[in-house]
Symmetry: C3
Subunit: 495 residues, 3 copies
């Protein structure tokens, strides 16, 4: 075990950071102590952090900027944090003492899993907004909804032959963490402490379940929800990365949510791919026209946007549906956004935990009003209007709303075929106390709304047309209904 001192701190400040930024950098003694070993144990992390803004700017300096240029939102901050840069210790030791997952490490009380509460020391507004975001509830919305959980089981579980029948084993925790919960977030808990031999002698560390994970709705040991590093990837925390579309594509590229794919083939995606290298992805505020000439995901859904001369076009938000009137994916029918980010409380008239009936009518008590939808649409349109004419925008949204309607109609038809199969005994559903998701015809139905109707809506919303035609779009809906009809016919034959 080594000692550390102020002289070490000064030495490190001089030696460990690039010459250009040395003048301003004040690394805390505790962080200097961390770096002393970790720079050789995990050089990748430490070097990455050195490239970050966190390693160069103190909270006090960050707060001193003009309001629109600020990347922090705290009113007050503990004095010991104000004038040192944000290093290892600032995030991994604060509040560690009263934590279940904190542990003693080289004379410091540290915690492995940095949670939104840690980030909220400097970014309280963003943390609060994010807490109201659907994403922060992604774990519970999946795991505490009996229907969603049933779908999860049918996917991540293991099917086994048992006397010519296929039976299903529930998924183990590792499979869950490796599939749905990778994006939705795991529940991270301390399983036990273990003693390990290291380069620096014997040490004690916690063994965590559900770890590693950076899912958006991770349940942290401190009971907070989410992982800021889902989008603000550690340890560089580059706003450039969060603003580029690859961050969103980590979870929003698959057939269930092909946002990135639709974006890629849109005009916006084309402009970004061809010319984006010359844009300023680091500027705060983000000035449309000056810093960028076409939107990425963050532009439309998250960032503080201004005109080149500083007029605010959209306020920064980490409740990402502030500019969205419809929820277009993940559920059977597109519907107005839920009021509460906790959707596990929703019940439709039939008593199911769904925001619509199986026939598509919304469960209005749990969903935002038409007025709120209009307001959110207005928020989004203000972004659009910075590059597009009034009529352009009106035309675009009229089409999108029409596509919400027709894609829902197509889903109603697919649902009709499934219900008919139940009625005629060609499949077993809720009435038979069987899963909605375990038979082939049910899986076709799931693909209808989870892949195809949804892809069609994304293509419309983001003008990436092919995802609304041949790439899992209208073509697939149209084919799927006919294939469901055929399957039903074959099931009923010879009975």
């Amino acid at each position: 075990m080594r000692t550390h001192s102020l002289s070490l701190f000064l030495f490190l400040s001089l030696v460990l950071l690039p010459a250009s930024s040395r003048a301003e950098v004040k690394v805390s003694e505790a962080t200097a102590a961390c770096i002393e070993c970790h720079a050789s144990t995990h050089p990748g992390i430490v070097e990455e952090w050195r490239k970050s803004r966190m390693s160069r700017v103190t909270p006090a300096a960050a707060r001193d900027l003009q309001e629109k240029e600020r990347r922090v939102s705290f009113a007050e901050i503990p004095s010991e944090l104000a004038d040192v840069v944000v290093g290892c210790a600032e995030c991994h030791t604060g509040r560690s003492r009263d934590r279940k997952a904190g542990f003693e490490h080289n004379g410091y009380q540290v915690h492995t899993v940095v949670s939104p509460r840690d980030c909220a020391v400097c970014h309280p507004v963003e943390a609060e907004q994010y807490g109201k975001n659907l994403m922060s509830h992604a774990y519970g919305n999946l795991m505490r909804n009996s229907l969603h959980l049933d779908l999860v089981r049918s996917i991540a579980g293991v099917q086994m032959m048992k006397e010519d029948k296929v039976v299903q084993r529930d998924p183990d925790p590792e499979s869950m963490a490796d599939s749905c919960l990778h994006c939705h977030g795991t529940m991270v808990r301390v399983k036990r402490m273990e003693t390990r031999e290291t380069d620096y002698g014997e040490m004690v560390f916690p063994v965590l379940s559900g770890w590693p994970n950076q899912g958006v709705g991770r349940i942290n040991p401190d009971e907070s929800k989410g992982s800021c590093s889902a989008c603000h990837t550690r340890h560089q925390f580059a706003i450039e990365m969060a603003r580029k579309p690859y961050t969103c594509s980590q979870c929003h590229k698959g057939p269930d949510v092909p946002a990135f794919k639709a974006y890629e083939v849109s005009k916006h995606g084309n402009i970004y791919a061809a010319l984006g290298k010359r844009w300023d992805f680091d500027a705060v505020p983000w000035k449309i026209g000056a810093d960028l000439t076409a939107p990425t995901c963050a532009t439309c859904h998250v960032s503080l946007l201004t005109s080149p001369d500083g007029e605010v076009l959209a306020e920064r938000t980490h409740r990402m549906n502030d500019r969205l009137s419809w929820r277009i994916f993940g559920l059977i029918y597109a519907h107005p956004h839920p009021r509460s980010p906790d959707t596990s409380i929703i019940r439709n008239k039939a008593g199911l935990p769904l925001p619509t009936e199986l026939t598509g009518e919304p469960a209005p008590k749990y969903l935002i009003t038409k007025k709120a939808q209009k307001e959110r649409r207005g928020n989004m349109q203000k972004v659009c209007l910075s590059c597009h004419s009034e009529r352009w925008v009106q035309g675009h949204f009229a089409r999108f709303e029409n596509t919400v309607k027709t894609s829902n109609e197509m889903t109603l038809t697919a649902t009709g075929v499934l219900l008919s199969a139940y009625q005629q005994g060609a499949a077993r559903g809720l009435a038979e106390k069987d899963s909605l998701f375990n038979e082939a015809i049910e899986k076709q139905w799931v693909e209808h709304w989870l892949f195809f109707a949804n892809s069609t809506r994304y293509a419309s919303a983001m003008m990436g047309a092919d995802y609304g035609v041949f790439a899992n779009g209208r073509w697939s809906m149209s084919r799927n209904i006919q294939e469901m009809m055929d399957r039903l016919e074959f099931k009923l034959k010879g009975r």
Copy 2:
């Protein structure tokens, strides 16, 4: 309503443009007037334009370059346009008076939808070539071909349950614009005029149907065909963007035309992705070896190419099949390119609007001759030969032609299964006055040629092998035929 003056014009010339280019810039009075309001109403557009070559170079200066370096092709140009840069007014007011979609706006007669006729003022040769390009006829070739239209309806229409049967509702115009016509182009018409309150008082604007749209075959209010901004994205109009493959991927990435995907996994795509950042995408002419070391879509299909010392390897063309001998996608069988860009005139021996019989024989009257095919292949091979040896190129093309043949043979087999289904009453086709595209087995057949045979050919043409094997290629054809056979068997069971 504001006034504008020469002093404003001079002021704007000085203030609105980057210092580096101020000296040469002459903005017209009319454009200065546009910018005065629109710089704050739509900052994104105006800033984008400011980054464009259009905002810096006058037509006269563009014409003064050496012939091979020229980006304009006019012989003469109206004197009032020659010596001002190409700004808002130059494109949006010219010829507006005699247009259906023109309207009075702040003292100017303007039009929203810029058409190829506007671009042809400076780029007449390109506009003429493009008029002979299949793309410019993409609207009519889809909508005025009874079979294609039937396919369109089966995709974009809405299927509804009606007493245990699924019936189809024809697609509404919004769905059409949101799907097939997004790429093919809509028909843009003035529906009515509307009066709107704006930041600058009450104003009158046209309300357009089919708007927004930048499809390649858009029918414009002036009856011209196409939208140059499909590829030359407004308002930066960067040749860099048109030359990068993302532009083409807007419409050529889906399973129906996976050109971009095949390119991406080819050697060419690999070289571009890894090293392209150092190439000069702005140089005219485009010098192989000096400006780029591997082709993008534009290199092989469009651009004027020279050797580093200026020898012309390929002439610029906007009739993009000038270097293509086979049409490999979109129709049942690959076939020699059609003679006329208007393919709605084609009839095969059976009287169907198809360039081949259902059994694959071409309809020679409407297709280019073997001699013309050879000439076009020669045009392309001259590009290949700048980096590849004679035998390399011969070997590549021999493989490709073989793949055209074998993929057509596989389609013939799939067609045989479908015809057999018709014959045995397991499906209903033209003989029963039913659609060719509305039943599951028919949709399997469509995927065979529209997705799989075609993907196989793209993979071969562009050396992106996996799209010819497992990614919708030969594997999918082989599986599809067996699945069609099984479906036919199940349909016939127990009758």
Copy 3:
């Protein structure tokens, strides 16, 4: 026919290369002679080579570097090669005299197809390692394994209708070269010599079969295996390109091996895409943290990695499974890596050329031991640990190993359905001396392990979760088993 001389050589040295590198460049007389004509015949190739390190650094200079910085591994080199840069002649004339494919060309004995033996003059260690790599045996492992060959035939062959039955024609050599062998490598042979008229008069050239090709297991005219240019793309041979993931994506992107796709949506892929432009892809050794902050394919699987202060974290290897304990794709079940790169020698207990039984038990005699697996896992983990904590890495690998197990279990179930179909006469397999791959239910089974189980494992290994859930992952396995059950049911109906 032209003559060439020392003065020409000196002239070329001065004129043909960029000013910055002129001082050090010594081009051989022979290469100068090549360039004289080929600079105008194939300007693309020559210009590309001029941008390469090969054109600037002599083998002697390359050898003079510190050991870790060396890109060459020879102990001795023929003196005539030591002090000239590596140009056309150095690769295309060496050892040509004793080659089947060598031919006289302008006074030189040259060969078209550069093989690993040519590269081994400077890179003998890498060539030897690669010879032990599975990839170098990719041709034989496919073509000399009766089951694999049967699968190949079922894909690349042509299915034809014959009296209402579909029969299969074996694939022709062009189709093979255009599909499976594009990546696996063709067999390149001299078919005949031909005389051709060229710009420089009549010349004689060999006509090669299986050409062009850069497959990883290409059988060269000199009987060596592989093509270094599969990854080290000619003629720039940029290490930057080999290290960027697009190179691997040429063959590792499709549904059969979605490594690139899983990488793209992983944190690693996100970091690379957003920030990689600032990394140093040319540095040798590759210093984690300093040169790069997230891995590409090469980082984890190939490159010599050090910490910023030079500690070796991983040795360079061209036997790419040195850091891999499981083979997770291409075969029915994931299994320990084979001992020999020649897998055509493997026989399971049932006598089939498979590394496992049809029920999943490995054929241990041919596979690496648990101890060897542990060692290889350790090699990989040392790379992981440079950025991740011990527990992070343990947690990740525990999940991956669990996914290997559960995906194998799911494959066992799918295999059970197929075997049941055989038993009940609903399909024809090996017992009936029929192909395992030609019927629809068999093709479903193939997709199960070749696409879905495998995608699930890639997603786990590389943390690209969606490829383990909805994008050909667990969802697809789960659906596929139910669809196989239904197909079996329909097949058995009414018998």
